[in-house]
């Protein structure tokens, strides 16, 4: 029941690919609607009404509010202030992705080496934040990183710094908070991939005279690529739409596009512009997902049955 443990391309437990199983037809050979197929209709209608229609309304609004035309988009792309937010969004998402990989790779690797007990401990350490409310975690980071927070109080009391470190209301704060939130999404697909790698291949390389580092880099690392790709894409795509963590831990210079959307709506009631921003974010996310779907099955990436 754990989502994500089967991320990347690991086959299901019974060894058959669901797509090739008999009874699960595709496209041409199975057209029309049968009695089982009818059961999908309520959900489709529900999502069309509650999810797709509102998105269409936003799309329309972005080119009709306040007047018909692409003015909102021109405003966005011509203003360096707003464009900087987009650049910043990509920069933070890229850094978050890099940091989660740097921390997640050794973590997942040690999980495959550890004894069952320690593997369990490491898994719980990943799953606790995964299950914990995002708001609770972000709140906790605020307690830790604020100028009067735990970290700074400790450092000041010990005389290690003279004035509080700026750990919050800037990019540092956003990175610390977001990497912690996204780390499980990197560790779990990496671990799923690494668990399936035959370690005897590395032993064989070493037996044939390769130094351990060479064997690791030339044999093991390439085999982890599917997990690395899955983790990278999952973390990056999730990061660009973040709102809660940057809004709470970031400052004016580290604003991301999600925050700008809310600000444009609640602050200035600028419906057309907020909608145009949402459309830009939606298009970027969709394009990335389209690229991803060439590499990995999205359904696998975001969930599945253990």
């Amino acid at each position: 029941m754990t989502t994500l443990t089967h991320a990347a391309e690991s086959p299901p437990a019974d060894g058959t690919d669901p797509a090739t199983r008999p009874g699960r037809g595709h496209g041409a050979e199975r057209r029309g609607l049968d009695r089982w197929g009818l059961l999908v209709l309520p959900l489709v209608v529900f999502l069309l009404l509650v999810f797709i229609t509102p998105l269409a309304v936003i799309l329309a609004r972005s080119v009709t509010d306040p007047q018909v035309g692409v003015e909102n988009y021109l405003d966005f792309f011509s203003s360096s202030v707003y464009f900087d937010v987009l650049v910043n969004t990509f920069e933070i998402s890229g850094l978050v992705t890099l940091l989660t990989l740097l921390l997640g790779f050794p973590y997942a690797y040690l999980m495959t080496l550890a004894s069952p007990f320690w593997r369990g401990v490491l898994l719980v350490a990943v799953l606790v934040p995964f299950w914990t409310s995002l708001l609770v975690r972000t709140f906790a980071w605020k307690l830790l990183l604020d100028n009067t927070g735990i970290v700074n109080t400790f450092l000041l009391d010990q005389g290690l710094v003279d004035e509080p470190l700026a750990l919050i209301r800037n990019q540092t704060g956003v990175l610390i908070g977001m990497v912690q939130v996204m780390l499980p999404y990197a560790v779990l697909p990496l671990f799923a991939t690494m668990r399936g790698i035959d370690r005897r291949l590395v032993d064989a390389a070493e037996g044939l005279g390769a130094r351990p580092i060479v064997a690791f880099w030339r044999i093991y690392a390439p085999l982890t690529l599917p997990g690395v790709v899955a983790a990278t894409l999952l973390v990056f795509i999730s990061s660009i739409g973040f709102y809660v963590t940057p809004a709470l831990l970031g400052g004016p210079k580290s604003m991301m596009i999600g925050e700008l959307i809310v600000q444009q709506l609640s602050g200035v009631l600028n419906w057309g512009f907020a909608s145009a921003l949402a459309v830009v974010l939606l298009v970027v996310t969709s394009l990335l997902l389209l690229v991803v779907s060439r590499f990995v099955r999205i359904g696998r990436l975001i969930g599945g049955q253990e």
């Binding site: 029941m1 609607l33 959900l43 999502l47 708001l135 609770v136 906790a140 809310v262 909608s275 049955q305």
Partner: protein
């Protein structure tokens, strides 16, 4: 050989620090919530339960909690019904535009919640659905339903359909077969999906901030306003309670799975 030991030690060191980084928030929130001072010192010098008191004494917090629970229950019911049906159709059935339908069903968990919030707010404002329980239920169900579909369809794919054929060849009709053979087999996954659905709804803050207002709010929105401007220590008490409830839920789910797998191993 010694370089290998050195590498392993370094690896263990880095990973230990990462593990601490991952669980640090949990270790901070719980003791902080028992702090007597309004300045959230850590570790607390004087312990008290005053922030728990302030939660239980404040009708705004209590109402928000009750709203969240009510919304969560409706979302769970609705998304289990819609999602299980869709999963059955997707694994067993025949319907047109399969790829588009799968995309549609997964889309709510891929589209950034800020966009969903803005879009739904635009429509619900016109329909008078903002600040209404129904409005929250509709949006949260859309966000929660993919979890049910993913869990249930995974269970259906690995379920041996020959068991159903056996049941029907022994004279049971389709409905009896589903209720007595299929459903008990996929029930753990349906319950897992239900749990995810409930937590998705109970935890959702981004879309909820768009829909909430002075009349109807939810617990996460209340927490959000409690930390946004200045930290209200009541949030620490609420966070601790949420943490303990979530951990208890998942620990019990894990325990159920452990017992089940033990039992299966014994049979095998």
């Amino acid at each position: 050989m010694s370089t290998k030991v050195l590498c392993r030690t370094a690896l263990a060191g880095v990973v230990t620090l990462t593990a601490i980084y991952l669980v640090a928030p949990v270790f901070v929130v719980i003791p902080t919530s028992f702090n007597a001072s309004p300045f959230l010192e850590f570790p607390p010098k004087v312990f008290s339960t005053r922030w728990y008191q302030s939660y239980f004494d404040d009708p705004a917090w209590i109402n928000a909690t009750l709203n969240s629970l009510q919304i969560g229950v409706w979302v769970t019911i609705l998304s289990v019904v819609l999602g299980t049906g869709a999963a059955l159709a997707m694994v067993r059935g025949r319907y047109p535009l399969r790829a588009i339908v799968s995309g549609l069903v997964l889309a709510p968990m891929l589209v950034p919640y800020v966009i969903v919030g803005l879009a739904v707010y635009a429509v619900f404002l016109e329909l008078g659905l903002t600040q209404s329980i129904l409005g929250f239920v509709l949006v949260h169900t859309a966000l929660a339903v993919p979890f049910v579909v993913i869990n249930v369809s995974a269970a259906l794919v690995s379920f041996d359909e020959r068991l159903e054929l056996a049941s029907m060849s022994l004279g049971a009709n389709r409905v009896t077969t589903f209720l007595k053979v299929t459903l008990p087999n996929i029930l753990p996954s349906v319950l897992a999906g239900a749990l995810f659905a409930f937590i998705t709804s109970f935890d959702e803050v981004v879309t909820s901030t768009f829909l909430a207002g002075p009349d109807v709010s939810t617990l996460p929105v209340q927490m959000w306003s409690g930390v946004r401007v200045q930290i209200d220590p009541t949030v620490a008490a609420v966070s601790t309670m949420l943490l303990l409830v979530t951990l208890a839920l998942f620990a019990s789910a894990g325990l159920v799975r452990l017992v089940r797998s033990r039992r299966l191993n014994r049979v095998a």
